[in-house]
Point group: C3
């Protein structure tokens, strides 16, 4: 059995080590896989993007614990869900918006928790032990009642404005590639992308097609259009950050 | 069998990978769990805090290797200890101060070392192979003679001064919460905490109880009083760092 | 079976998690060990240094995937190699220069790839599944034809100039130690090392022999001469970075 961990805890504090200890205490043989602990503090959208991009590459049956949890200790519910053959465990705050279908359970069964539950660290007290018990064979129905009113926050999608399409920047990756919310199908054959005062009109299929210093578009590995600069950081050069606006138009409609 | 690793090696250099290779070469089936490699260079107190906070969440029998070792190559001894059902392996420099009881052994048995022992990397040459042999079944007594004069450096505890209690900052966590060395029992019912020119008089049980922008105290997941700011960094706003002084008084005694 | 991962992907993006998912989907029981994902973007030499320093500490039979791949999607070939009882999988760009002998294969067998191969993420689509199939028992010959013209980029070695030896800085480690490309045998008994306007004449065998504030040379754990400062960062104080020049002379020849 595989349990993956995705959090905004960083690796300098003991939080992640503690979660692993709790899991291995309950389910000794489980394989724990770190996806990332480097999500910006409290950034639910970044967590949602990360788990949505990653879970599908794991074998079905994997259990994915995601703890980006600004509302810990409040009325937000702990949940577990089954979707696409995987199990997801974490807070009901939209962090699973990209993966949920409709089989979602409110975690209420205290026999699956640590003996004492804090109001500050549900990753340790609730999410890790629940995931470990599921890994050991507890059916997902055992965590608590099924719910229908779980929170979904869809990622922002491009919207038309006149003869243009307005997209936005979802994320900057480690290499400085600017991941947009545009798909290949959103680009007309003679597209022109406007971002930060620059016009991009080339779509390449690999980074190596570009000339040195040339900005270009590329369909990235997550299926989104990315704005890139070969062996350089497009984001640094363009000075764009997450949320920045991107305009797409057809060059012919342009004239 | 579980071996955990806690070091100040970072993850950019090959040191941690090398330790894992050595362990798996000796004890192929062992589960290696990274606790943190992000301890500040040579910071024995931070290492002591981290392992003391974390080990108890692992199942008994786990072996915890901690390498924060400014004295490598000097006369400081390599040690192994049994405490609370766990095994600890590392340098005798106080890094295990929070966990040791009294069963401590000086590691001298060279048959448990790598063939060639450097004076700069005992994590590779001594601590990893010793931990791996213990994981494979070597009794802890086999590492060398028991010793009684191992080093203990207790964490700083609050001290009374007149009608006040003087505490200090143990640590800043990734979210900017200020972890103090105060316990819940150290706070009178009408407490007033003075830190960096600010007065804090509220103790909440969860982060979500606070008003936006409000500083408050909370009992953190490690059992210490933390000074916090909801969804913001209290440490950045207060400009406090580890070691900063904190004064606690009773509001009634104040007047 | 062990598969190690070394990349320049960082841990904030989903890339590493995705590779682990792909591997575990094909070879469920395999032990995945992270060596480092913190290599500077596109820095093939740093990747080469890291895997060359680390692989030999793993048990033979281990499979080492290294993805530092600025040429992904270009004509650079994916390769697998057998050397020193280990298997190496990655791009043919010199990243394995420190480990290759002569048994190198061009990976062309598409049955070992993911169904759809992108031109931007061969770590996911080619290198991870190929490594996983080899871990499951596929012979290395099954990946494709053997090649002889693979790329080797040897690390820079010291060169004599008059009665001096000119070396260079290979790397700065996390502690600020300056790792040079000099070996112990390159230093005459009465050596004098000139770096960044400073003269170093002491070679110690452990960090603890130095006086506070003293610069000294030491044979580091990777077998190279390092320039160090006890419990401080020599690199910060000397303001040297990778590639900086180092002069060695004999004190007697000096006069």
């Amino acid at each position: 059995m595989i349990i993956t961990l995705t959090t905004d805890f960083g690796l300098s504090d003991p939080f992640v080590g503690i979660m692993k200890g709790v899991i291995l205490g309950i389910a000794p043989g489980v394989q724990i896989v770190d996806i990332s602990h480097d999500i910006r503090s409290y950034d639910i959208i970044e967590g949602a993007f990360l788990i949505e991009s990653t879970y599908k590459y794991f074998p079905t049956g994997a259990i994915h614990v995601v703890v980006v949890d600004p509302g810990v200790g409040s009325a937000r519910r702990p949940i577990a869900a089954a979707a696409h053959g995987h199990i997801f465990v974490g807070p009901d705050n939209g962090v699973f918006s990209g993966v949920f279908e409709n089989e979602v359970y409110h975690i209420t069964n205290r026999r699956l928790f640590l003996d004492s539950v804090s109001q500050t660290f549900h990753g340790r007290d609730i999410f890790s032990p629940v995931a470990a018990y599921i890994a050991k064979g507890a059916p997902i129905e055992s965590v608590g009642p099924r719910i229908l009113d779980f929170l979904k926050r869809p990622l922002p999608t491009p919207r038309p404005q006149g003869d243009r399409l307005l997209g936005s920047v979802l994320r900057i990756d480690k290499f400085g590639n600017v991941i947009t919310n545009l798909r290949r199908r959103d680009l007309p054959y003679d597209f022109s992308i406007h971002v930060a005062g620059l016009e991009i009109t080339r779509l390449y299929s690999s980074f190596s097609e570009a000339e040195p210093g040339e900005f270009f578009a590329i369909e990235g590995s997550a299926g989104y259009i990315e704005l890139a600069l070969d062996q350089g950081s497009a984001a640094d050069k363009l000075k764009v950050t997450r949320g920045a606006e991107i305009e797409v138009e057809s060059m012919s409609s342009n004239h």
